[in-house]
Symmetry: C2
Subunit: 455 residues, 2 copies
């Protein structure tokens, strides 16, 4: 081990450390996993350094774990087998913005907010918005999505090309700057969502979108959850090109009112946004408004100005932290299921019934236009019975998503948290993943303990 | 070999044949490749039969080649190493249409036109339109796209889930019916575009689109090619959601006028289609019209009625056959490059200059909204000097696409025809593809001779 550390020090100088505080920091996660620190932390500045450090780790059989901002929710960046965490915070340059080709080339440590700040003067933006100010390398690795995926797609459709360092230190470039290609296996698509188990992403070419001329956002209330979710189903089926359509339940509304001084009625709400031409946005809002009215929803409360919209979505994005703050003694279990749109109302209703019966706080929200929703389960941390019940609730949600033809994760990924469902969701497909992993990382050094069948 | 044939006969009865006419039929292609017939042809009716026949082939080391409608342009379905061609024409059932989830489940032999006929009453349609009435299994395997990809994406984004028979006879299901997922490697995306080299697709779950309330189509003429391609670049950069934006050069216009009795001016044209609400379509047409006028293009000639639009696109789809008929003594070489949109005008201009200098007929058209265009090179078949020049022109196009940051195939694929460019386009990425291939098909029985580095 010391030989590996010596080689890493020789390569990176002070940018490789085995110090306790760096290790501790990179052994934590935002979710409910125990701390699992790595043996050392590297802060590379170039792809060549990443390739060299992976080669050193490969030579010594040391695990390699990528680290963006640490906002993953399924323990993706923990080090259950030790090894070296590669922190990309010093590879945070926007390398190129091509307004003509509507794309940006970035290093993996750039966060989505930093990129959008950089793009402000161009009239373009990067649409994928998981809430957290995550790094783009991390977002690609977990196939992140969030509030705008209903309109602009997930990371899968917004990453055009990648540079990746493989487990043996080889540097591979996937994709081109052309909008499409039919030249062999879609390696870009393979590395997006691979959670760092096939290689480390060292550069991304991202599709950008033009800022729409017209944007408007609104909230509306419903007397019950079913009316809200049925409204979503009808809206998606009618093809209205919603830019955002988010569900929040009455509990989240209560939390928001208390925390942010809003005065929304304590009922289930939809938070929506329309993008298009000014006239197009009016048409969309009118079509959506007709469905809302048919379902007994309230009139829209509009967020007229840009800062009103920013406040609205900031409130939504901070929902997780707001709920945790509202139950300071609770342990937080984040769930993330995604069902076919026709099953959304049933899935939410049955989930809400289970939560009500359990007596455990479990506010619900979701990117419901994709059939994707989350419950934040908040059992009291010192109550083993509540903890067991919460685990059972989370399990029932995953089980229900699979029964309804859906998936156990819409956007958070597998990491260490959802390995138990992979066999049921994928069957022989999980074996195929394991074969692909063995082909590209035969010694299993890339982010071990995650996503794949464990040896 | 006889043992394998006996087993296949026992499995499929008369639906397995080694007869000369079936073999000959499956040894031809629509492009310029020599005939390469298989040793036998199988016509399975179920996934179980496909799995059993692949297992028999695996046991005897026999190549397995998938066959849809035989419309591939790069020799994908030829049998350069013999083996068994699996003709999916008897697996042509639309298994399910879910209007609620806007998806269809189909067998691989269903053609895109058959699916759209089946969908007519639902108000939904399947948008991917490569021109040929190809099978959906084949379209997935070559990652087909075509005229509507600029709006609706390629097969990559329109296939939600697959059932695949692997080289060892295992049956794997990929994806779910939920609109998105973050549960491991994107196997669906890996099999789409794999050209049958990783397995045989036996079932597809496809995303459907709602028929837009408003559709309008038009053509407009430009004095020169550059004005037309610059119009495309500006249109795409301005974010007008074109449903189709196709370029045809003056030569194709002359061919169309002669063959179809149209009276378009013999100049470069754009053929366009708008989808949306009636008001939205008007807005789009107006925005596009402003760009056309700025670039000196003509007023639109509208295709008002559905049958006018059908005639327009049928003319476009038959361009390949029309050009071949116009030069009956020519050998036809179809090219297919795709460049970043900002490089479109340069790529088309330089290509046109090369063709003019060569003296060989080479009409140009393309799905230019994606940066994708084709030249149909038509050297006289008995003129070796023209044949050599045509090959050099095709090579120069591929070379230019790579230099401009693009790809050697936008939609036709690699097959046998473009192997020579894989190293330059992908470098180490091609080795990665070869590793993945070896992992899933260690004995190399799935469609050998295509896409991958050849042993």
């Amino acid at each position: 081990m010391q030989a590996a550390y010596d080689a890493l020090h020789a390569l990176l100088g002070e940018r490789f450390t085995t110090g306790a505080s760096d290790r501790a920091l990179h052994g934590q996660s935002e979710s409910h996993f125990a701390d699992m620190p790595p043996d050392g932390v590297a802060y590379p500045q170039t792809t060549a350094e990443v390739a060299a450090l992976v080669s050193i780790c490969a030579a010594h059989g040391l695990p390699v774990i990528g680290w963006g901002t640490g906002t993953s929710l399924e323990g993706h960046a923990l080090a259950p087998h030790g090894g070296i965490t590669v922190d990309f915070s010093r590879m945070n340059a926007v390398l190129q913005v091509s307004a003509d080709d509507m794309l940006a080339v970035v290093q993996p440590g750039v966060t989505r907010e930093a990129l959008n700040t950089e793009l402000r003067a161009t009239g373009l933006f990067f649409p994928v918005d998981p809430g957290a100010n995550a790094s783009l390398g991390g977002m690609a690795s977990t196939r992140a999505s969030g509030t705008t995926a209903v309109r602009y797609g997930t990371m899968r459709s917004n990453v055009l090309a990648l540079e990746v360092v493989l487990a043996d230190g080889r540097i591979v470039r996937t994709g081109t700057r052309a909008p499409k290609s039919s030249t062999g296996y879609d390696l870009t698509g393979l590395f997006v969502g691979a959670e760092g188990t096939l290689g480390l992403i060292t550069e991304l070419t991202l599709r950008l979108q033009g800022q729409p001329d017209g944007i408007s956002a609104a909230v509306c209330a419903f007397d019950d959850m079913d009316a809200a979710t049925q409204t979503v189903i009808m809206t998606i089926q009618s093809g209205i090109p919603m830019a955002r359509i988010e569900f929040i339940d009455a509990t989240f509304v209560r939390i928001f009112n208390a925390r942010h001084g809003t005065d929304m009625p304590e009922k289930p709400h939809l938070m929506v946004e329309f993008h298009g031409t000014p006239q197009g946005v009016r048409e969309q809002a009118e079509s959506f408004g007709n469905i809302v009215a048919d379902m007994g929803g309230s009139a829209f409360q509009w967020a007229e100005q840009a800062q009103d919209r920013a406040r609205l979505w900031s409130m939504r994005h901070n929902a997780y932290y707001a709920a945790r703050a509202a139950w300071p003694d609770a342990y937080a279990i984040t769930t993330d299921v995604c069902v076919p749109i026709s099953k959304l109302a049933q899935a939410v209703r049955e989930t809400a019934d289970d939560i009500a019966a359990s007596g455990i706080p479990g506010p619900i929200l979701g990117h419901v236009g994709d059939g994707n929703f989350h419950v934040l389960l908040l059992p009291h941390r010192d109550d083993p019975a509540q903890m067991a019940k919460a685990a059972a609730l989370a399990h029932a949600m995953a089980d229900r998503a699979l029964r309804l033809g859906g998936t156990v994760s819409g956007e958070h990924g597998i990491g260490m948290g959802k390995l138990r469902y992979m066999d049921r969701e994928h069957g022989a497909g999980w074996d195929v993943m394991t074969s692909l992993k063995a082909a590209l990382d035969p010694h299993g050094i890339m982010n071990p303990g995650k996503l794949l069948r464990q040896p």
